[in-house]
């Protein structure tokens, strides 16, 4: 399982901010992926939830805004 629903009712990634392979897998499974500005991309794999325009960083992971 890659996601949980957080207290804001948003989908939050369970892999934290350092699970590169899980974030890549999640993005491959997602039809909504759109790459963010290059300056905001933090993964070397272009298609990664860590690089998605619709991720919103939290203190420990990120929320998916396309829930």
């Amino acid at each position: 399982m890659l996601w949980k629903t957080n207290k804001n009712g948003n989908k939050e990634f369970l892999g934290g901010q350092e699970s590169r392979h899980l974030a890549e897998r999640a993005a491959l499974e997602c039809d909504m992926f759109v790459a963010d500005d290059e300056d905001e991309c933090v993964s070397d794999e272009p298609r990664s939830c860590y690089n998605c325009r619709y991720r919103r960083w939290t203190a420990t992971a990120f929320e998916c805004l396309k829930t």
Partner: protein
């Protein structure tokens, strides 16, 4: 005179990023003949549930050397630019800091560092801006972008925060290049290992997919790491640079 210009919170989830707007504003300044601009740096602020950022909470800052008589015109242009170009639903803030004669540099730097650690109210940003005599204005929404805009100037002033916007396209016949060649083709001023050692100008570096520099000791710095398998230097990955 030397100034710093910083903007924050100009975007929404579907719009152009704040970095692009900062580069457009810098280009405007040069196109008007008001002065010359330095490259834009990105500065990360605190990510916290009580802060209403769009998705990453970063501010974009650049330095400029301008004709002092143009400061008023430039400021008015920057304000109008933010009103016109910021995305709907954003909370844009603009800060312009004249560095000549600024005596409270330490206060500005302290504010910048604080914005990376704790939640700050915009009233605190306005109070500091008024006390030290720098321009701080909001241009829509809640206006909370003034916090990051002021903090971004303080962080740029540290000389040790943030990544430069964009990446370099280095012309080379292979994927290998020397620090001297990198510095000739880009705004990079020094090439260093992650341990802080400065590379000799003639050492060999293997270029990665995206080559980016960071602000260290006030210089555009290209960071490289030693690849023990290839016994060579490689440019740092995005993963390695995300802490800057």
């Amino acid at each position: 005179m030397k100034i710093l210009v910083c903007i924050d919170d100009t975007d929404n989830i579907d719009s152009r990023g704040t970095g692009e707007l900062a580069s457009m504003l810098a280009a405007d300044i040069e196109d008007h003949g008001w002065g010359t601009c330095e490259p834009v740096t990105r500065h990360q602020m605190l990510v916290h549930p009580d802060i209403a950022y769009t998705s990453h909470n970063s501010a974009m800052c650049f330095g400029a050397e301008i004709d002092e008589s143009r400061l008023g015109e430039l400021t008015a242009h920057a304000r109008e630019f933010l009103v016109r170009e910021s995305a709907s639903g954003s909370d844009p803030g603009l800060c312009i800091v004249p560095l000549d004669g600024l005596s409270e540099t330490d206060d500005l730097i302290t504010f910048g560092k604080k914005a990376k650690q704790v939640v700050i109210a915009k009233e605190e940003a306005y109070a500091l801006a008024e006390r030290i005599g720098v321009h701080l204005s909001e241009h829509g929404g809640t206006g909370i972008g003034v916090i990051g805009a002021l903090a971004g100037t303080g962080l740029r002033l540290t000389g040790n925060d943030g990544r430069f916007r964009g990446h370099f396209k280095i012309e080379t016949e292979s994927d290998q290049v020397t620090p001297a060649e990198i510095m000739r083709q880009t705004h990079v001023e020094v090439v260093k290992s992650l341990d802080g050692d400065v590379l000799n100008e003639n050492e060999t570096i293997v270029l990665g997919k995206k080559v980016k520099s960071v602000l260290q000791d006030g210089k555009s710095t290209l960071l490289v790491y030693n690849d023990p398998e290839g016994d060579c230097w490689r440019t740092c990955t995005k993963q390695q640079l995300k802490v800057y």
